[in-house]
């Protein structure tokens, strides 16, 4: 049994190198259960790679990922991923399956939950993301915001302990961003542990307890959103914020 007081996630000295390019340099991070952490930084600063190293879609070059008090290894990763939901920038819904089937696929095939139970749970999850009437729609029949909400429901289907969001609103038309952020806000209020890479500074400020500023693969600055957004210590943070907030 994991110690309930122990942190949920501990990254220690995480490095990732693509060829000669250092994408992540010595990242260390601790997250407690129920915490919402915002990950900000320019494109190419390593936000996505950091998330993908946590559930080993990328293999870290060095460093360790401790999750629920155990190291994530290549052998354990299939089990760990059941506990780590991921939402992608470009949704990656399964186009040959309906919204409901997208949500129920993992429970049915990974956990072998009977179809009937999986479906009733799936309907509940779709209700949670406010898509009750779209259960039988195929992804191509849904708007971008609806697709991303189905993707969130899919990530929730195994009831994971940690949710990773990889710029979930970046591929959306501006008018569709709100509905996705609203769902994410609900999740935060329910006490979900979330690590959110995003360019939505307003959302970060409002929902996150902590913000990390990533620059050149390093955590350059870290702190409560109030402090990072209003009184950044680093010049680069200030420059970045000036760029994105004045946009």
């Amino acid at each position: 049994m994991p110690d309930t007081d122990a942190p949920l996630l501990i990254l220690n000295g995480l490095c990732k190198r693509f060829g000669t390019l250092d994408v992540l340099r010595d990242i260390s991070l601790t997250m407690r259960e129920g915490e919402v952490v915002g990950l900000i930084g320019a494109s190419g600063s390593g936000k996505s790679t950091l998330l993908r190293c946590i559930n080993r879609l990328e293999t870290p070059t060095a460093g360790s990922v401790r999750f629920q008090d155990r190291e994530i290894t290549p052998e354990s990763v299939n089990l760990d991923r059941r506990e780590i939901g991921m939402v992608f920038q470009r949704f990656h819904l399964f186009p040959h399956l309906t919204a409901l089937e997208n949500v129920t696929l993992a429970p049915r095939k990974v956990l072998n939950i009977p179809a009937e139970r999986a479906e009733s749970e799936g309907h509940a999850l779709l209700a949670q993301v406010k898509l009750t009437d779209k259960a039988d729609a195929y992804p191509a029949e849904l708007s971008g915001g609806q697709q991303q909400r189905v993707a969130i429901a899919r990530a929730l289907a195994l009831n994971p302990a940690l949710l990773l969001f990889d710029e979930p609103t970046s591929a959306l038309d501006p008018e569709l961003v709100g509905e996705v952020l609203e769902v994410m806000r609900d999740l935060a209020q329910q006490g979900r542990t979330m690590l959110v890479a995003t360019h939505e500074m307003g959302f970060c400020r409002e929902v996150a307890q902590r913000v990390l500023f990533l620059d050149g693969g390093r955590i350059l600055e870290e702190g409560p959103p109030e402090q990072v957004f209003t009184a950044p210590k680093e010049e680069r943070t200030r420059a970045f914020l000036a760029r994105v907030l004045n946009r």
């Binding site: 879609l57 991921m86 990656h92 186009p95 040959h96 696929l105 191509a140 990530a155």
Partner: protein, 567 residues
């Protein structure tokens, strides 16, 4: 091709037909219903009309034409030593020397055209050659639609058996045994007349393949012309021996079109001179390796009437008499004519349908094995396990990079030396499946690799193993994408399956070739064969198109729900 204006006209009118008809057929929906539709039949009948285009009346005889061109074009299938064969680049043999002597007598150059046995008659019919000199035996059946010169060689059928196999001694012993022959030769006819069932006669395009079959124990004996058998055994089959002596008396002649008496008379005259002035004796000694006896010459002289009699033909060629059904047209010109003979098609249909059935069964089995095989190979090819990748790569490269014909050949003729003896059907199915598997694996690989990598990542991020993700996320999407290229492969396979005829399987193309030769009407038969192939491929493409539509969930209106999403 001979310079012939009517031939030009024919080709261009055929081209016009294709250009105008094909797009029309392509847009029909559903296509195969068109087969019962009058319009398509009408366009098909228009082929028949186009094909029957008399090329202007020319009173000139073919002999005059040959003299004017200064060349005699002779078709031959150079796979029949000692009569004709190729050594290195050179065409050699008894017939070749004889044909050249005939040309010398006519005062013209001889141009040899080499082609498969199944093609020589079509070449004669379409005036792509003047005569055939290819060890062709004079038969009454052949004389119905074509003509022969006086005999120039006495021949007959005899039996080859494995050395010391005393169960085969004479013709009667062949009943109930499996016998190899060269297809549509007098050997085959003689066995059929004897009452040997057709499926006990293994028909090969080349005599050597038939003999290899006997060596491998798949056939019990081979039947062929004595001189050809003797030569083959002497050269490359020491394991076989002749037995039983001649059981037919046959004569070899120069094969020609009917209603060209001037040409035939000229060739008969030339033969008459060559036979007696010592040239024939030299040829005989050189190629048959025996001295020419006066008995042989006397026999040839006595049976000089075995060819086509000139009188009979002059009668038939008179304007009052009805022209023969399948070849030729008016008696005054000698340009190519093609008429579609529906009675002939009706007579041939049961045999053709039997062939079509075998073609379908072979293709279906090859797909049934080839698709799972191809999928397995594709999965191996993209797997992280390096040895598997290499095995898959080698398999694909070897099978894709060598001719299917060779693969069939190796499985049937070469594997027996490793004590793997497969019957023709099994060999054919295995070869077709292995070959199709290689192509299909590339189709699947390309299909899998075309799926966005995000799909695999999304599935893996849900805790699915590689296998589960493949099974439930990647492959279902792949199948939809590969349906069109897979259909392509299925249609190609259906047609490629005709190559199994090399191991004596009577699929549609083989049956068609046989009928075309024996009935002397290649145009009619081949048109029927083409239609039968269409009858098989069109429903297939239609079914697949329906499948594609069914598997397009994005645009498909779904009736199961009251509230249908907008299209």
């Amino acid at each position: 091709m001979l310079p012939d204006p009517s031939q030009e006209a024919f080709t261009s009118s055929l081209r016009t037909f294709y250009v105008s008809a094909l797009p029309r057929v392509g847009r029909c929906d559903p296509i195969f219903l068109q087969l019962t539709n009058l319009r398509l039949w009408l366009s098909l009948m228009s082929i028949a009309v186009l094909l029957h285009c008399p090329g202007g009346a020319r009173a000139q005889s073919s002999l005059d034409g040959i003299r004017q061109r200064g060349e005699l074009v002779i078709a031959t299938d150079a796979t029949y030593p000692p009569f004709e064969y190729v050594d290195g680049q050179k065409l050699l043999g008894f017939d070749v020397d004889l044909g050249n002597e005939i040309g010398r007598e006519l005062g013209v150059r001889v141009v040899w055209k080499q082609m498969a046995w199944s093609g020589v008659l079509g070449a004669l019919e379409s005036h792509k050659c003047d005569v055939i000199i290819s060890g062709a035996t004079i038969t009454d059946e052949r004389k119905k639609t074509t003509a022969f010169s006086r005999p120039y060689f006495p021949s007959g059928q005899t039996i080859a058996r494995r050395k010391g196999d005393t169960t085969v001694q004479r013709l009667q012993d062949l009943k109930g045994r499996r016998i190899s022959v060269q297809e549509e030769t007098t050997g085959q006819y003689a066995l059929q007349k004897l009452g040997v069932p057709k499926d006990h006669i293994n028909r090969f395009d080349k005599l050597e393949d038939g003999l290899t079959d006997v060596v491998n124990g798949k056939s019990d004996a081979a039947v062929a012309d004595l001189p050809a058998l003797k030569e083959s055994l002497r050269k490359s089959y020491p394991q076989l021996e002749l037995t039983g002596g001649l059981f037919t008396n046959e004569y070899v002649g120069v094969w020609m079109r009917q209603r060209e008496p001037e040409l035939r008379d000229a060739i008969n005259r030339a033969l008459g001179i060559i036979l007696v002035d010592g040239r024939y004796a030299r040829l005989y000694q050189a190629w048959i390796h025996e001295p020419l006896t006066t008995g042989i010459l006397a026999d040839l002289d006595k049976n000089r009437g075995a060819g086509t009699a000139t009188d009979a033909e002059v009668d038939r060629a008179s304007p009052q008499s009805a022209p023969p059904k399948t070849m030729g047209g008016s008696s005054t010109d000698n340009s190519p004519h093609f008429t579609i003979n529906s009675g002939l098609i009706r007579a041939a249909l049961p045999d053709l349908l039997r062939g079509a059935k075998l073609t379908l069964v072979l293709t279906a089995l090859a797909l049934l094995i080839g698709i799972p095989l191809g999928l397995a190979v594709a999965l191996a090819r993209i797997s992280p396990a390096t040895p598997l990748v290499w095995v898959a790569k080698i398999y694909v490269e070897v099978l894709r990079g060598t001719p299917l014909l060779m693969q069939i050949y190796v499985i049937y003729f070469v594997l027996p030396s490793l004590r793997i003896n497969l019957d023709p059907f099994t060999s054919g199915v295995i070869a077709l499946s292995l070959n199709a598997g290689a192509y299909i694996s590339e189709i699947f690989r390309a299909g899998i690799e075309s799926i966005d990598t995000g799909q695999m990542e999304a599935a893996r991020s849900l805790g699915m193993t590689y296998g589960l993700a493949m099974r439930w996320v990647i492959l279902p999407q792949t199948v939809r994408r590969v349906l069109p290229p897979l259909t392509n492969e299925a249609v190609a396979l259906l047609k490629d399956s005709s190559l199994v005829s090399v191991v004596a399987l009577s699929e549609l193309m083989r049956v068609g070739t046989e009928l075309a030769t024996s009935k002397g009407a290649p145009t009619t038969i081949y048109l029927a064969v083409a239609l039968l192939y269409l009858c098989m491929t069109l429903p297939l493409t239609w079914v697949v198109r329906r499948l594609e539509e069914k598997y397009q969930p994005i645009s498909r209106p779904r009736p199961r729900k009251g509230a249908v999403a907008n299209a």
